[in-house]
Symmetry: C2
Subunit: 286 residues, 2 copies
């Protein structure tokens, strides 16, 4: 039976460390601050933003939530963003997706100051990761959280066979880059690939397909580490991952559940990265 990788417990541990870092920074007169811009009435977005806000406050991070109406123009949004981009007291900026249709979301997202890009989505930061640069740069929170799981559960990466299923810019690609940079032998697959021919031999499998039954027990090598980034709703309305958890858990060495696995890591990494951006900014200013 696999070890269950406990995302809630690890998130708590990382949050505790983040809170300590915040206290330390404050004693040095650096006040980590995250600004979230929320445009429109999307209820799920409001919920996500509230939970980010609460978590930031819990950890001592200053949290600004700028709510803007559904009919906000791109120019109005750009004005707020520019103000935040140039405000030295704001270290991290997040624009909650989705944006109303009158706004060119792809364009706007690219206008975030890369030094405040807490999501790690900016092209220059993706380039830093892809080229394995040694400078300080933010990294996409979800795959960065998965790296923390590997560390916490002593999952060796160097020279290991890793398979990443899904090639999105926010999970699959940065996950692959992180694993390549850590010395793994990495295969990147489309969600429609016949994954079992690759996963059967793999030491590490990360599934980010959003497809039920992406991985079954027969697709997984005994002892492999299985990370499930999927958040799907099954036929009974239950939140499940991409992986057939009960079956795969009998074969795998380590496995993340859904919920309680990768999910809790994303916000905790957002907070950790806000504090990192504050530190780096202080070094630049100091």
């Amino acid at each position: 039976m696999a070890t269950i990788i406990d995302g809630r417990k690890l998130a708590k541990k990382i949050n505790d460390e983040t809170a300590k870092q915040v206290t330390k920074l404050k004693s040095e007169n650096v006040f980590p601050c995250l600004a979230v811009i929320l445009v429109g009435d999307d209820q799920a977005s409001h919920r996500y933003v509230r939970s980010k806000h609460r978590k930031a406050e819990q950890l001592g991070i200053k949290s600004i939530v700028k709510e803007m109406p559904e009919n906000t123009t791109q120019e109005d949004l750009m004005q707020v963003l520019n103000e935040y981009n140039n405000d030295d007291d704001i270290h991290a900026i997040l624009i909650q997706s989705p944006l109303p249709k009158q706004i060119d979301e792809k364009f706007i997202m690219k206008q975030i100051n890369p030094k405040k890009d807490v999501d790690g989505f900016q092209t220059i930061n993706a380039g830093n990761l892809f080229l394995n640069e040694s400078t300080n740069y933010p990294v996409a929170c979800t795959p960065n959280g998965v790296m923390q799981m590997f560390k916490e559960y002593n999952v060796a990466l160097e020279g290991k066979k890793a398979v990443v299923i899904g090639r999105s810019t926010i999970v699959g690609r940065p996950m692959a880059a992180l694993l390549i940079n850590a010395g793994a032998e990495v295969t990147v697959l489309n969600h429609f690939a016949e994954v079992s021919q690759y996963t059967k031999d793999a030491d590490i499998i990360v599934s980010a397909t959003g497809k039920l039954h992406t991985l079954r027990a027969a697709d997984v090598k005994a002892g492999a580490t299985v990370i499930d980034v999927g958040q799907n709703v099954d036929e009974n309305g239950k939140l499940v991952g991409d992986v057939d958890f009960d079956e795969v858990a009998k074969v795998a060495g380590n496995i993340t559940p859904v919920p309680g696995g990768v999910g809790p890591m994303t916000i905790c990494m957002l907070m950790k990265q806000t504090v990192q951006l504050a530190k780096w900014s202080d070094k630049r200013n100091g």
Copy 2:
């Protein structure tokens, strides 16, 4: 017996097309211009730069070669680079590596205007490639040349198994990104991996290890396409690739020789990309 992918012939074809593009651009009053900065006395560098200069002139591209002495300071080099970065008549800039040791090569390379980054090495351009952006950006010339080979020889990529051996920022990583973006199932390996376990099943293998005998016949599936980016000198002082050409050619479907394979593609892609940068620049200015 494999089809031999003829890099010299393909380079000539691409150069002919580039020369036509240059003529067309000139008729529109755009004069494609490549500036190469060459610092110091390295004889191989002088040879490379001369051959780039000759090729540019042959194709009608204006070629500026700025030779600077071995004892050039970083400040002096930066001054020349800034001038070129800001000169609208210069579309493409290349700083020949290696640079003398008093110069921080990594730093200087990052100072090239990304819009004139004919090598495609700038972080923002690597990020564009990694994120598969749809905007115009330059791509590293050698892997981009390999993509031209796939096209010319009708090598299908979508859904195919591809293995890239070597993870350098100038060949392996951009090659992997190009293949991922083309829909292949891509594995990226260290040069010290046991490659045969991956290559035996692969439809496409790109070797960029700089190691003799990286691939032998037994490592290759019948009919596979084998691209050899290696440039090595064997025990007899002969220029050879990473692949045991004579043996592998009996098994593969397509194979590049060394010399005469990937080698000639790099300069031809440099010229093609100079012309593309000139076109894009014209659109921006116009």
